[in-house]
């Protein structure tokens, strides 16, 4: 059954990708990309990668699509007729694809439990991590503890993204109150948003702190919390959102999250262990792992929330500027 679902989803993905190649209407392209992301999230779910599915749905189908739409609002939605000769790209793609297909011929069969991937390294995560780290969600154990350095790097990548976006676009605080911002006339939206936003933030907190036991964690929580504020900013306008959380404050929050994460590593060095060795954080190693993971997940959550919201602010204020012009 799982294989059948997989096949159907893959077919839908292939159709979506083909449609995107030939479409000229960029608005439709971006919406199809959102669908593509969502379908791949379903594939991830079907292949047991619940955390990944969660992230792909919130990032690919959520944040990325929103950012692309805002960009389209500034750049226009029609693609002009391409004048590129498409033969060279086609040739490059065919060669690359042929190389990859050649590579698949010696691949271990799909889903087989004896594959090398399942024989080396991973068994320790599956068998020992519930004892060594003490969390039922192995993905969180590996992410935050065994490969915690990768996750620090990932947080820094997000931080670099906000540095890039801010240096390119900046966030302008508007002095003029008269320009139309948000969806003033939509009464129904206002009421519904006011009901929903607290629930979304509550859900984000649940995802943040329940990530040790179920799918979720700092990254997903940060994105969901940012989505709640993005909704607020969309409906009530950027100036009102700036009054709640200002862009300057968000910059500090983004920096603080990275520093919070790194400080756990420094503290464990101070206690005599290696960088990010959570065993040193408490007398009982498993308790130490638990403290360490909660704190670094908080750091990730804070940074991701601040960065995603700040990036949206930057794009949003550009879009409002182009509306005025």
């Amino acid at each position: 059954m799982a294989e059948f679902i997989d096949l159907v989803l893959l077919a839908m993905l292939a159709l979506t990708a083909l449609r995107i190649i030939f479409l000229k209407d960029l608005f439709a392209v971006v919406m199809l990309f959102g669908i593509y992301s969502f379908l791949s999230a379903l594939i991830f779910l079907n292949l047991d990668a619940v955390d990944v599915a969660f992230t792909e749905a919130s990032v690919g189908a959520g944040i990325s699509t929103v950012l692309m739409l805002v960009t389209l609002a500034i750049t226009g939605r029609k693609e002009k007729q391409s004048t590129h000769s498409s033969l060279l790209p086609l040739f490059v793609v065919l060669v690359t694809g042929a190389a990859l297909i050649y590579g698949t011929l010696d691949m271990p069969p799909f889903g087989h439990p004896d594959n090398p991937v399942h024989q080396h390294v991973a068994p320790r995560y599956i068998e020992e991590s519930p004892k060594e780290v003490g969390l039922p969600n192995m993905v969180t154990s590996v992410l935050a503890s065994y490969r915690g350095f990768d996750t620090l790097g990932e947080t820094v990548v997000v931080f670099s993204a906000v540095i890039g976006v801010l240096s390119l676009l900046g966030v302008r605080r508007k002095k003029k109150k008269d320009l139309e911002s948000g969806l003033e006339s939509h009464r129904v939206l206002h009421v519904v948003a006011k009901i929903i936003i607290p629930l979304v933030i509550l859900f984000a907190l649940y995802v943040q702190f329940h990530g040790d036991f179920g799918p979720g964690g700092g990254f997903q929580a940060g994105v969901i919390a940012a989505a709640a504020f993005i909704l607020y900013a969309l409906i009530l306008g950027l100036p009102k959102a700036f009054a709640v959380v200002g862009p300057r404050f968000l910059q500090w929050m983004a920096a603080a999250g990275v520093l919070l994460y790194a400080s756990v590593g420094l503290y464990s060095m101070y206690m005599g262990g290696h960088f990010l060795d959570y065993n040193q954080l408490a007398t009982d190693p498993v308790a130490g792992q638990h403290y360490g993971i909660i704190i670094i997940e908080l750091g990730v959550g804070v940074t991701v929330f601040a960065v995603m919201l700040n990036i949206f602010y930057a794009f949003g204020s550009q879009a409002e500027r182009s509306n005025v012009q």
Binding site: A14, I20, L26, V59, T71, I74, K80, H84, V117, F213
Partner: protein, 118 residues
């Protein structure tokens, strides 16, 4: 037949990757290039997740009575890679907004004509 059943997943994923790759290198519009880049990357993520799957396994969260779990390591790698992807997308889109402001167009061949090449 079992050959096809063993590999069809990888083949479709390769096709999707190449579709994304084609969009990146052939599109003239910068937004479409970024969409292509995302499709390319998302398909690579599928390659990783496919190799982590164990037939008959469940999601790698400890549940009483389950012995066969899928491999958690590719999931962790891809969580990181998704974040890297969205970071790149954000910076790329910000560049596009600035290019639109500076050149008035986001079609590659049009702004090329507005400057001397290099």
């Amino acid at each position: 037949m079992s050959f096809i059943l063993d590999y069809y997943n990888y083949w479709v994923v390769v096709f999707l990757m190449m579709a994304g790759f084609y969009i990146v290198i052939s599109a003239n519009n910068l937004v479409k290039k970024i969409v292509g880049l995302n499709i390319f990357q998302t398909s690579v993520f599928m390659l990783y997740i496919s190799m982590g799957k164990v037939s008959g396994g469940t999601a790698p969260i400890v549940v009483e009575g389950v012995t066969q779990y899928s491999n958690p390591l590719p999931h962790v790698l891809i969580l990181t890679a998704i974040v890297v992807g969205v970071a790149t997308t954000a910076v790329g889109l910000a560049l596009i907004v600035r290019i639109k402001r500076a050149y008035g167009t986001v079609e590659e061949n049009e702004f090329d004509n507005k400057d001397d090449v290099i």
